[in-house]
Amino acid sequence: MTVVEQTQGAPRPTPVRIGGARGGPPLSTVLRKDNWRLQPTLTALGLLGFIGYSVWAALRNGDFYAGNVGRDYLSPLYSPCLTHSCTTAGYVWGGWSWWRVSPAWLILAFPGAFRTTCYYYRKAYYRSFWLSPPGCAVPDAGSTGTGRRSRYTGETRFPLLLQNLHRYTWYFAVVFAGILTWDAIASFRFTNGVGVAVGTLLFVVNAIFIWAYTLGCHACRHLCGGNLKRMSEAPVRHWFWKNISSQLNAHHQLFAWCSLFSIIATDLYTYLVASGAIHDPRLF
């Protein structure tokens, strides 16, 4: 053994290389070959359609209650009935004569906040409106440039930090789901007793979708049992957590859309009936 070398010292730390040349295909190219634009476009159209419809419905400020044709239908966009607009049938929750504009604006604020902070809708509009990202493995809008959008802070700053208060909007949403349930029950009420008409079915389906959507909320799932370490020690909460997770939360996206459409359908139907455009056929 001739040359003896003394080895020593700690190994060099590995740099995690950030910001340098990354190599690979240019960051701005999209290599996906499928039609990745389709999904965000459909989502954007759906959401814009809903927003457009609800603005129109709110501006309408009339024909949201079908008491005039003997039906106890109150549009979900105007429920609870806050102003005197629905007194004709003695169906008034409030008597706010001082409220001048459409009551729908006030009411829409609550479900609006609920849906805006909903984890599913967040995904939907971050992807389709904010394009962050527009699709998986598709670059964020502006990320390859040098503009303001080249940086990204997610939900760590105001106002998006407020998304963390989603559970408070859920508390209100439960109240609203209750009110819509009441409306669905009321829709069985006819001037000459109890019955079922096509509108009744719509109101019932709407209430079901609203509940399915509201109870499938992630905040609800968390409160039911998701926050526990040992669910085995709380069998009742575990039961709720398990069923909400697998039956409702797993289909949250589906119920989000179903309830959106059922709201539109219910409002539109009420409008058409109240305005006299169509006749609501009674089934029983």
Partner: protein, 599 residues
């Protein structure tokens, strides 16, 4: 003066599978400065492929179970060729090792009262395998990996070790390797080295092993002068996938046959009825009618021949294929589609259904599977001291698949994961003890380093040399056809000649391109290890003139009680491998009585 990167540690562990990680954890906990060197990224080792479970006599499901039963099962399964002391330590310590994993975050499946659930497995008398669905290996590896990370153990990833370094006294003083990423050399000075590099499957054509199973540890030890034992004992699983190429070698569980699957040749014949050996004739059905009734009535009818022991089934498949009655891709058909309803198959064999659907696009509820024997595990390996895992070279330790003796001639399912933990820990413990008891610095000879690197880089200089892929292919073909599951003297001798030829070809391979992450070059280097293993296996196989466990000789179909008392020891004499039969350690009488109780 040194141009290469160098690091010094008390203990260097080569291999980051279960055994390597467990050894490193133990060495580090004992206060030794420890490093792990591995060929792949951390957490990718072949341990993830283990599905069944960890065998440990916890007694959670069967309170009757204890280490003595486990010990006896292991020795029986190994055809008594095991190192009795290893089998004993293994059976005694496995339960503690499993509980320890739990303390590090492993989440095993549970019994109704919240303890670790255990499942049945072939050769184990009681339900004994702690498991997590069918991904127990992943759980074990991840748990050890996370433990090692939290202890701050240094990990050198994607670094291949080429040679062990020795000092003037003949003790191991480190290792030299290179970064796969850059092709640059790196030298480790170490007072102890633990080999935990896993298996050798890539030497055969059909194997369930990953590219890493090239027998690096076996070769390093051999070149460093360590003894190897029983390298002929290789376990071939009778049913591995043979088609498509993507899935070649992947295991098909025995459960398929247990649940009604039958083997057919090209002509649709249930050929197993032609191969019932005298020895099993009493307990095996000899007509299709009888065999088919067994599934529902196991008491009054005899077992179908498809359920004969692994070596028998593999041998029969082999002769069908050799007789030209095989399937189009060189296997036979395993058919359950025509025998059970799709619902039944999907319920009983969900992972097999999924595996064939995903990998082969074969719907096993509609079509038969094509299967053939696949190289699975090597029972033989580096000779170690049972208690300390020390090899015959001072400062060198070995644990896991790379070490021999624990499993004898045949390994029971579930015993490999527990082997990793028990002997990984022991190797780490004694390697640390050895290192910490050695005062002074580690000395590394630069001359040796230079030499090793020069040799490693030689293929770049041979632009016109043969493609290493071609040589590897040839080696696999040779081993598969001549040193495969069924062996005979003439074929083994032919293999020996071919290997000598391949040695020369491997020494003359050329690679193109650059040193950075060049797989052709890496293969050229791995070839050396695989050839070393191939030599050992072939020589020992020639010498063991009997059939025992994983080693089946056509010309000596019975086992020879005399040969059952010896290990086939292979070691390097100069530059050639020699083989010597040497006696097994003798089991003390109080353990011998365990085998006499008539169980």
């Amino acid at each position: 003066m040194p141009e290469h990167e160098s690091h010094v540690f008390d203990v260097v562990v080569i291999g980051a599978g279960g055994a390597g990680l467990r050894a490193a954890i133990e060495a580090s906990a004992a206060g030794a400065r420890t490093a792990i060197v591995c060929k792949s990224l951390l957490g990718k080792a072949h341990t993830v492929m283990a599905e069944g479970g960890v065998a440990a006599a916890l007694g959670n499901v069967w309170p009757e179970d204890n280490w003595m039963v486990h010990f006896r099962d292991t020795m029986r399964g190994g055809k008594m060729l095991n190192n009795w002391r290893m089998a004993q330590l293994h059976a005694q310590e496995a339960p503690d090792r499993v509980l320890e994993l739990e303390e590090w975050g492993a989440v095993f499946d549970r019994t109704p009262d919240g303890r670790i659930l255990q499942r049945d497995f072939g050769g184990h008398r009681y339900a004994r395998l702690a498991h997590v669905g069918d991904r127990t290996g992943l759980e074990l590896l991840r748990t050890c990996q996370q433990r090692a990370v939290s202890l701050g153990i240094e990990v050198f990833m994607e670094c291949k070790i080429l040679h062990l370094l020795k000092d003037s006294s003949g003790a191991v003083s480190g290792a030299v390797g290179f970064w796969r990423e850059s092709g640059k050399p790196v030298v480790f000075g170490a007072k102890s080295v633990v080999l935990a590099s896993g298996g050798v499957g890539k030497t055969w054509k059909f194997t369930s092993n990953s590219w890493e199973g090239t027998g690096d540890g076996h070769a390093l030890a051999l070149w460093a002068g360590a003894d190897m034992i029983d390298m002929e004992c290789v376990q071939f699983h009778p049913t591995g996938m043979v088609w498509p190429p993507s899935a070649r070698g992947i295991l098909v569980t025995e459960g398929v046959r247990g649940d009604g699957g039958v083997l057919r040749n090209r002509d649709g014949e249930r050929f197993m009825f032609n191969y019932i050996p005298e020895f099993y004739a009493k307990e095996t059905a000899d007509s299709i009618e009888e065999a088919d009734q067994w599934y529902d009535n196991k008491k009054d009818f005899r077992r179908p021949p498809e359920l004969l022991p692994r070596d028998e089934v593999a041998r029969s498949i082999n002769s069908e294929v050799k007789g030209g009655r095989g399937s189009p891709h060189g296997g036979v058909f395993l058919d359950i589609a025509s025998r059970r309803t799709p619902e039944y198959i999907k319920r009983r064999l969900p992972s097999m259904y999924h595996q064939f659907k995903e990998l082969a696009d074969v719907d096993i509820t509609k079509e038969p599977m094509e299967i053939g024997p696949t190289c699975h595990y090597i029972m033989g390996g580096i000779r170690v001291d049972a208690d300390t895992a020390a090899t015959t070279v001072p400062g060198l330790y070995a644990a896991g698949e790379v070490a021999g003796g624990m499993h004898g001639a045949n390994r029971l399912g579930g015993n490999s994961l527990s082997d990793l933990l028990v002997f990984g820990r022991r190797a780490g413990q004694y390697a640390a003890e050895h290192a910490l008891g050695m005062p002074g610095d580690v000395l590394v000879d630069s001359g040796q380093v230079q030499e090793v690197m020069q040799e490693a880089l030689a293929p770049f200089g041979r632009e016109t040399g043969e493609n290493p892929y071609a040589v590897h292919h040839e080696l696999q073909e040779t081993m598969q056809s001549l040193v495969g599951i069924i062996r005979t003297e003439s074929e083994l001798l032919e293999a020996k000649d071919k290997l000598a030829d391949l040695d020369e070809r491997a020494a003359a391979v050329g690679v193109e391109g650059h040193r950075q992450f060049n797989p052709g070059w890496h293969l050229a280097l791995d070839l050396q290890s695989m050839l070393a293993v191939a030599h050992c296996t072939t020589l020992s196989a020639i010498e063991r003139k009997e059939s025992r466990g994983g080693h089946t000789r056509d010309d000596y179909p019975a086992s020879d009680p005399e040969l059952g008392k010896v290990n086939m020891v292979t070691r390097l004499a100069g530059t050639t491998v020699t083989v010597t039969p040497e006696p097994l350690p003798v089991m003390p009488d109080e353990l011998k009585t365990l085998f006499e109780e008539g169980h």
